[in-house]
């Protein structure tokens, strides 16, 4: 069902955990829906994402998209990172099953929320 890339990110998630002294935190989802993602970011002086980590409760797609989003976001400017769409995450993973596209692909929303959070703080 899942591509090899999805399984790789599921089995070997990149950037799992929490950034210490995070500059921004984004949480999306709801345990009652079986999906919660928490993205923490560290932003450098040039508004680049210096570090980003995730913690996720969810299915294989949820974990893999979380991992992928952190990889894609790292090193990007906030403006660039905000452009990361659900579709681009899914594409980077070699595609997701149709029924997963929507419900378990919230990680880019989480990232946006973390960026918002960062901006609201500054």
């Amino acid at each position: 069902m899942y591509t090899e890339k999805v399984m790789d990110h599921f089995q070997n998630p990149r950037n799992m955990g929490e950034v210490e002294d995070a500059d921004g935190v984004g949480e999306v989802g709801n345990p009652q829906c079986g999906d919660v993602m928490r993205i923490t970011i560290k932003v450098d002086d040039e508004e680049r994402i210096e570090d980003v980590k995730f913690k996720t409760l969810g299915c294989g797609a949820a974990i893999a998209t979380s991992s992928m989003v952190t990889e894609m976001a790292k090193g990007k400017t906030l403006d660039e990172a905000e452009e990361i769409s659900k579709k681009s995450v899914a594409d980077a993973l070699g595609g997701l099953p149709p029924q997963k596209m929507h419900c378990s692909n919230l990680a880019s929303d989480g990232l946006k929320k973390a960026i918002e959070d960062y901006r609201s703080r500054s």
């Binding site: 999306v28 409760l57 419900c103």
Partner: protein, 413 residues
């Protein structure tokens, strides 16, 4: 021998090599249709007669009360729609329970759209139906009570004999969906006082695509598949000879094992349940502790989601570990946004329903399999919990209690 450990036997089982061997001649060599008169047909006919006898012996029926179908789904649809059609003039009320398999619930809902009334009895926290509730629910216009024998997801075994006696006392036909019980525990249609009983081949090491409906003599039922005169005019269609022969063989093999195998499996089941309860925190056993299919284990794990547990078990990270196949009641596999309606019916909170894992054993599973599963499970759950943004040790969510209301998951995104 096997390179994986299969513990999803409630979904389907490996066809027994003896079953395959028994079927083999009927594809290519003795391929005749039993409806034909010549030798090739007679061979097929006596093979089918033998299979019918074997299945009848397994459930204490007369062979003339066995009707072969394409599986449990057909048998359930036939039982419900067929009795409803035949008895419509007597009344339009059916009794079942809310934790049934979809192949029971969906035909019931279909009939509701046609003006029938269906009572979906509540189950208790262990998934049990109260026979008293059945008695109270029966009305003069009730024409069918249908109850699952052993629940496919949580393993709970219903008090079928009591419900059967109650239905019999009111002369209401009683259907038992025994897809998960036949071949796994002793089943006797007279002891259960049932009038119709569903059998599925592939759930006890028989072939896929074949099942049966037991119909007690004298019970009125309209055929679902109309056409040729096969199965004493009650189920048309050229006989699936290899499939039926395979089902008969599976029945014979299961019957030979009924004295020891259920006890062996129950021990293995209890070993797994006890181990999990002794070694893990924030878990919840779903289904009744003892009134339970001998091959079923179902737990919820707080703070994590079932599909990711299942996937982690089936794709181990290290090469020297065998993939382990189990299933989950999480919404992520149902293709809907709702987790298992059965877990919710027990009052399991939605988040815990998402975090459930079902292990269903078979004659092939050993104590070593159980140990491999347990050590993999401990590791996987720990790892996923370490990734979880919500898991907090000892949060007591797993204490039994009524489920939360759920949320609009589509809107929540």
């Amino acid at each position: 021998m096997t390179e994986s450990i299969f513990m999803d036997n409630a979904a389907t089982t490996r066809t027994d090599p003896e079953v395959i061997a028994a079927m083999q001649p009927y594809g290519n060599e003795k391929f005749g249709s039993p409806a034909t008169l010549y030798a090739l047909g007679s061979e097929a006919k006596s093979a089918i007669d033998g299979a019918r006898q074997n299945l009848a012996d397994l459930i204490g029926a007369d062979p003339r009360e066995i009707f072969f179908t394409s599986g449990a789904t057909e048998s359930n649809n036939w039982a419900i729609k067929g009795v409803a059609d035949a008895l419509e003039s007597r009344g339009k009320h059916i009794i079942t329970n809310e934790a049934e398999h979809h192949s029971i619930l969906m035909p019931c809902r279909y009939l509701e759209k046609k003006g029938w009334e269906v009572t979906y009895l509540q189950v208790d926290g262990d998934g049990l139906v109260d026979p008293e509730a059945v008695i109270k629910a029966m009305r003069d216009d009730t024409v069918l009570v249908t109850m699952v024998h052993g629940n496919h997801e949580i393993g709970t075994i219903q008090p079928i004999a009591e419900i059967g006696a109650a239905a019999r006392a009111r002369k209401v036909p009683f259907h038992v969906n025994s897809a998960q019980a036949v071949g796994h525990i002793p089943v006797d249609v007279d002891e259960l006082s049932c009038d119709l009983l569903t059998v599925s081949g592939h759930k006890f090491h028989g072939p896929k695509g074949v099942g049966a409906l037991y119909v007690r003599r004298g019970v009125r039922i309209t055929p679902l598949l109309l056409g040729g005169g096969q199965e004493r005019k009650r189920r048309a269609g050229t006989h699936n000879v290899p499939g039926i022969v395979g089902l008969g063989k599976a029945a014979e093999l299961a019957r030979n094992r009924l004295d020891k195998e259920p006890a062996r499996l129950a021990e293995l089941r209890d070993y797994i349940i006890d181990s999990i309860e002794n070694n893990m925190e924030d878990i919840r056993l779903n289904g009744h502790r003892t009134k339970r299919l001998p091959n079923n284990v179902n737990f919820s794990f707080d703070g994590i989601e079932g599909e990711s547990i299942m996937l982690s078990l089936s794709y181990p990270t290290s090469r020297d570990k065998k993939p382990i196949y189990v299933s989950t009641g999480s919404a992520c596999v149902s293709g809907t946004l709702e987790p298992s309606h059965i877990l919710l019916a027990l009052g399991v909170p939605v988040e815990l329903a998402h975090g459930s894992v079902r292990v269903s054993l078979s004659r092939e599973n050993t104590r070593e399999d159980a140990d491999s599963f347990l050590s993999a499970l401990y590791e996987v759950v720990e790892r996923l919990r370490s990734m979880s943004p919500v898991y907090k040790r000892g949060s007591k969510k797993c204490a039994s209690g009524s489920g939360s209301d759920g949320c609009d998951c589509e809107a929540a995104t």
